[in-house]
Amino acid sequence: MEEISSLKEEKDSVTLILTGDLTKNFSITAESILKSLKGKKQFILKNDNISNWDQTSIITLYNCLKYFLGYVDIKLQNLPEGMECLLSLALQIHPKKENSPTQKQDFLEHFGSWGIFITQRIKFGLDFLKQVLATWGHQITGTAVYRKKDFWLALEDCGPRAIMIVSLISFMVGLILAFVGAIQLKTFGAQIYVASLVTIGMMRIMGAVMTGIIMAGRTGASYAATIGTMQVNEELDALQTMGIPKPDFLVLPRMNAILLSMPILVLISDFMGIIGGCFVCVFLWDIPLSEYIRYSTMAFSIENFLVGIFHGLVFGFVITLCGCYFGINCGRNADSVGKATTNSVVYAIVWMIIMTGIITLICEGLGI
């Protein structure tokens, strides 16, 4: 087999002689070159009748040369034209060194920076909350800057357009509630109380929670995506340089729209859930419709209903807050819009659950 390449050591230089067909059997390692280069100043690449070469051979060469680029003078001696051109292009700039090698943080350090991060985020969140609450002040004093059209568009989106999906999901939830409840109650022969179960369950909490989750996924996500895209498109910068406050212009119409539509949606959701329960009872468990209605109206209480509506209002607030917060704090590329949308939904749902807990505790305290 013919010799492909060889290293030749001289007084203060090393020469790599390239011969023959480099596309076959050409292999050279950085270690072997580095070993021979110890104490030398110059590295010469010499052409000795190269018959054939390709990009792969150049890649191999570059990956050996990049280690001592800048430390040793590299000279290319009458290499084939294309090869010399490619190599000198690749070698013109020293590979960028990593600025600071990432040190592994120990546990305490990690914990500390996590704590700082969290407190910072809480501060940002509270600042935003304050700004949003202030927008209502601006509205009352008539200094708020927003377009009425935006409000109507937002209202249309989170009102009439959400009714179908909210109705469908609530109907299903009522159905499931009745079905699961009935199996248990049947063992006591107390099937008829399914009506009370569904009515109280939907009214007090399930209607609001289901509406909240649907609206978080539907409207909250759309708020985050819309505002995030505005950030990418420099529209938020334009707002700022026009001196238009972002919370007023972006959050206020959306917040008002969702707060207006949430009670109605919760009401629809309650109603549809009860119909869902009725459906199971009448068609599956042979409870007469009149009985279902009677027990249902007996279980109805205005307190439960109002607590449900209150939940809905709080959820609407949380959803808009999360959607707008993550939208406004979105980065400047497509990926961050996706992240903002995900975050808005996740945080909205988490906060809804937390708020449910808090409201339940308060109601417990008040004896409602």
Partner: protein
């Protein structure tokens, strides 16, 4: 004319950048009223960061930006907001509000800052759109018009309040040579007829030679400016190699190859 004009913006020892790491240091320059001032430099050298700092979108790390006698860096939020409304900005992509049509876009600052009647606003908006060659496009949404038109509509919005200072972020980016020339002509005409001070961030050579009356060259190697003056003068008497290389696309600079 420009020699005797008062100074409208004066930047003193300004450091710009993002939390902790400065992109450009010790920037000092003055912009006279009625100037067309070019901020030039290679890609990624901090031109846009400088523009964002000057327009108040980004806090300065240190130094002073004095606009009409008020220091942007130390001014209160209220004053800053006032200053910001005194200038119009044309963003790289136009930054039109995508949920509004062109009429609503241009009308927004007018509704916000003037007490004109809606009839008067309509007249102004139609005039501004006609100025940039978009008469009759009031009902179009930004997504329905071309990139060049979007830029011109952005310019109409920036002009809405007759600002004293107009900023342009890479006006010719993404435009064909002819559209880019039209935009340059428009910039010159606005400057001449309204005596607006214009500040342009660009690295397009034809454009900066055509419109530039004064300029600053940002050098990312030394992290500060390395030349200022009229771009044509700079080309005749380049103060250093990198300016020459930039202004001649590196043609006359043989040393870079090594």
């Amino acid at each position: 004319m420009t020699n005797n004009s008062p100074i409208i913006i004066s930047v003193k020892d300004l450091n710009i950048g993002y939390e902790g790491h400065a992109v450009m240091k010790h920037l000092s320059f003055e912009i006279k009223k009625g100037d067309i001032f070019i901020i030039m430099g290679g890609s990624g050298c901090g031109k846009s960061t400088l523009l964002r700092t000057m327009t108040g979108l980004l806090p300065a790390l240190s130094g002073h930006i004095i606009v009409n006698g008020i220091d942007m860096v130390t001014a209160s939020e209220e004053k800053k907001k006032y200053l910001v409304t005194q200038c119009g900005i044309l963003y790289q992509s136009g930054a039109l509000f995508s949920s509004m049509n062109l009429f609503e876009n241009v009308a927004l600052p007018l509704q916000q800052y003037t007490s004109y009647s809606s009839e008067k606003i309509r007249e102004i908006v139609e005039f501004k759109l006609a100025l940039v060659g978009l008469a009759g496009f009031e009902k179009f949404y930004p997504s329905e018009i071309s990139g060049g038109m979007r830029k011109r509509a952005g310019l109409a919005r920036a002009l809405a309040l007759d600002p004293e200072i107009l900023y342009f972020d890479e006006p010719s980016a993404g435009l064909d040579p002819v559209s880019s020339k039209h935009l340059d002509d428009l910039i010159l005409e606005i400057n001449k007829s309204l005596d607006t001070t214009i500040i342009v961030v660009t690295h397009e050579l034809p454009s900066l030679f055509a419109i530039g009356k004064n300029s600053i060259f940002l050098d990312n190697k030394i992290k500060t400016f390395s030349a200022k003056g009229n771009p044509k003068e700079l080309l005749k008497n380049p103060p250093n190699e990198r300016v020459l290389a930039f202004l001649t696309r590196g043609v006359s600079d043989e040393t870079r190859a090594k």
